[in-house]
Amino acid sequence: MVNKKIIKFITTNFLALILIFLFAFPIYWMIIDSFMPNDLIIKWPPIFIPNKLTLNNYLQIINGTPIIRWFLNSIFVSVAVATLSVLIDIFAAYALARMNFKGRDMIFKIILGALSIPGIILFLPNYVTVNFFGWTNTYLAIILPALAGTFGVFLLRQFFIGIPRELEEAAKIDGAGFFSIVFKIIVPEAWPAIITLFVMNFMGTWNDYFWPLIVLNSKSMYTLPVGMAAIQSQYIQWYGTMMAGAFMIALPSIVVFIIVQRYYIKGIVFTGVKG
């Protein structure tokens, strides 16, 4: 019996170690190669331990692309989307969870149904709309369509429904209006869900590629994912430079992720397990 347990222990941990190695290695390789000069990187056989490390690739990216501007663009739109969507979703979710008005459940069903509309049908007409208003190549083109996301409304409504009514009843007796109730009672109670939504929308906007690709025209307006594609085509064949660009773009994502992973994971689990 004991032997079996030891074998299981060894195999499990060994398997995990191998998988960790396989998963982490691409990132390691990207980082290492980003410090290698472009002409050494294509040498055959590959040089594993370069005797000549260089920051040249990073300098090329900083001088050759507006990467700092891309970073600022990404931060701005991600924070804007996360903040604004949380705000409007809180109100919409409260209305759907607590208020009584004609058509409430119908509206909720429509919103829920919209979750199943494949995005592929919407992107072209949305593009035409954005173009029509002259929002192409502006932050508005990224921010405004993202505020139509239904996931947040759904998430918050489910959460709000679970909040004990007594708290609101008590506040109503004290004469509190709707705004007070929302901000002084609902929001504090639902804080974990709200943060989770904020984080999910932030990451979603931060990593979005397809939509910014089609609505952003000039290089200075790109977000980081679109910038990565631009670096790939600009420095094709110059793999060291490409890796430097990739690392510079991946790093903030990884840092942000490590900070918010608790909430990000909560959000994902909610969608899969309770959704």
Binding site: R104, P125, D208
Partner: protein, 295 residues
């Protein structure tokens, strides 16, 4: 009751405005566009009824062939990836959940970190690893005597490359959801099974899998939708090649719509409607057949 009404609508108004403008309105407009000739530069060039749809089902029209080829490419990717990603996610979750594992948190984080990256970044990283002449993987292959493989320029390697890249990127997502699901299964069930003398395989089949029913169902739906949306990896890694074999429908519609010298936006809309409709039907069928049990 009436006072409530106004407030209700007011609270919903901001969200509903965006929802209406960017979800409901484009749904209608997309269908309208699919029945027009529409140019990127020229705009609306006129209503043509169902002509776009007719052409897309006409085997002599070259875009029809290319469209259905792209649908087949997407289908192939879905076949290769959906079961694989689900089982891999489950496998990783079971590994992490295993009582013998000492390095739980580290493992979980490392498997999940690629999810934090955007599609172009992972495409670039793997493009370099799989590069024919100087990439690391081909070096290892020549080192052990197999020789270089044209990962991005020939089949079946092109699909394998895209699948592996996407697996590395998103399996963590499935893993996390499965972990949540696993932890939801009451431990009493496992204790009871042990008492009855069940081995791990039986426990897995009769307790774990049924307990994960909901989760498996929803991950399947998510995976189908995510695989259907395949875009960045083939765009940046294989260019849709060799030939058109890795050109998925999302990429094909993008290429046709944004071709400025020809008024193809209308027919691209028709393609969107057809492909979107097909995936919608598939999901509906899944919901109606298996979803009933899940609920």
């Amino acid at each position: 009751m009436r006072k409530n009404s106004i407030w209700g609508y007011l609270f919903l108004l901001p969200f509903l405005s965006f929802f209406g403008l960017f979800v409901i309105f484009p749904l209608i407009r997309g269908v309208y566009m699919s029945m027009t000739k529409w140019g990127l530069y020229g705009g609306n060039l006129g209503f043509i009824g169902l002509k776009n749809y007719q052409l897309l089902f006409d085997p002599n029209f070259f875009m029809s062939r290319q469209f259905w080829e792209s649908m087949w490419a997407t289908t192939q990717f879905m076949i290769f990836s959906v079961p694989l990603f689900i089982f891999s996610g489950l496998g990783l979750a079971i590994l992490i959940n295993n009582q013998f594992l000492k390095i739980k948190t580290v493992s979980r984080m490392i498997f999940f970190v690629p999810v934090a990256l955007s599609a172009p970044v992972i495409a670039v990283i793997w493009m370099w690893l799989l590069e024919y002449n100087s990439g690391l993987i081909n070096f290892l292959l020549t080192f052990i005597g197999i020789g270089r493989i044209p990962w991005l320029t020939q089949q079946p390697w092109a699909w394998i490359s895209i699948v592996i890249t996407t697996l590395w990127w998103t399996v963590g997502w499935n893993m996390i959801i499965f972990l949540g699901g696993l932890q939801n299964i009451p431990t009493e069930l496992y204790d009871a099974a042990k008492v009855d003398g069940a081995n791990s395989w039986n426990t897995f089949i009769h307790i774990t899998l049924p307990g994960l029913r909901n989760v498996i169902f929803f991950i399947t739906i998510f995976q189908i939708i995510a695989s259907f949306n395949l875009f960045a990896q083939p765009q940046l890694m294989t260019g849709g090649g060799p030939g058109r074999s890795t050109l998925p429908v999302m990429l094909y519609i993008y290429q046709t719509a944004f071709n400025f010298s020809l008024p193809y936006m209308g027919i691209s809309s028709a393609m969107s409607v057809i492909s979107g409709g097909i995936i919608l039907i598939i999901i509906m069928i899944l919901f109606l057949t298996l979803g009933k049990e899940a609920y």
